[in-house]
Symmetry: C2
Subunit: 181 residues, 2 copies
Amino acid sequence: MTGRAETLQRLAEVFRAHGYEGASLALISRATGLGKGSLYNLFPGGKAEMAALVLAEIDGWFEANLYAPLREAKQPAEAVSAMFDAVEAYFRSGRRVCLVGVVALGPERDRFGAAVRSYFARWIAALAGALERSGRNTAVSNALAEEIVVQVQGAIVLARALDDPAVFSRAMTALRVKAAA
Amino acid sequence: MTGRAETLQRLAEVFRAHGYEGASLALISRATGLGKGSLYNLFPGGKAEMAALVLAEIDGWFEANLYAPLREAKQPAEAVSAMFDAVEAYFRSGRRVCLVGVVALGPERDRFGAAVRSYFARWIAALAGALERSGRNTAVSNALAEEIVVQVQGAIVLARALDDPAVFSRAMTALRVKAAA
DNA sequence: ATCAATTTGTACCGATCGGTACAAACCCCG
DNA sequence: CGGGGTTTGTACCGATCGGTACAAATTGAT
């Protein structure tokens, strides 16, 4: 019925809301409106394949909407600013969890380690490149890019822990200033 | 046989390694060496009580070893430096996960929300107080304290994601400089 | 309209889940 | 040595887990 892309979106929400272990097939079936038959027809590999495809979908979205623009921007400073816009929108000011970060913290890290590593490594590399092209030297660019990604992840944790999206927004605002300086 | 405190330590490791849902009673039984009978004798409330007590134990450790020293230090700058020592040792340069942060990201946040909020709020408050007493004004102290806790959490995520403890160490070193400036 | 191929719902599988019941083993105080 | 209270292992509970089998329903090409 609904397309495969939409199904992946709903799957992502289920994994975000309940974690990998907590996302039972019953829950997944309810959330997607698909019976077990349909699910195993779409994803013969079961839950593991669903999670892998969800991670790949997220990775693709970041590649298209953040990494590629950062790499190819003619005006890197604007691209960095646009990245912050995209990050604030995507993570809904910390109300929405970073699924890749969650996987990195959890026991599924081993299974999806390569995907997780690539997602973050490419983020940092693309951002560092843009910062460098905006006038910084290599070492500073690398350090700043790493710090920005660290703070995005940490701000999600803290905003959720304190149940206060303002924590996330404050961190992003401070980072924007720092990145533009 | 072994004391209750040691049992809580092993419980914490199991929760860290497998998450709340993934920490089955079979796993817990194996890791603690205690049968179900003993476990439910020690923790009549089952898994939920185990997790709550583990969080309380962690909270108590941070209170005693980080928050209280930060609050009561005669030389606040030294206390902040000591906090970084303790943090690097406790989280093993990002190899060890922050269980409270993991809970904040996961579906158990609702159940343990109050404990999670208190843990982070008190950390930030104690740190902000020390920073203020070391010569900064209130606003700067609060912002810096929040940023430090954000970066600690984010550095754990990124160090695990990239499987590179140096990420964590670099972040801590940079924060020490910033806090001492 | 027909028929092969795909998609779907449902019944079912063994395994494991968190939790309970309870009797045997153990401990400690007399 | 005795005996009351606690600690322990084990058998067991219903529910749910991820996954499979398979027949009915649906689809698409001709």
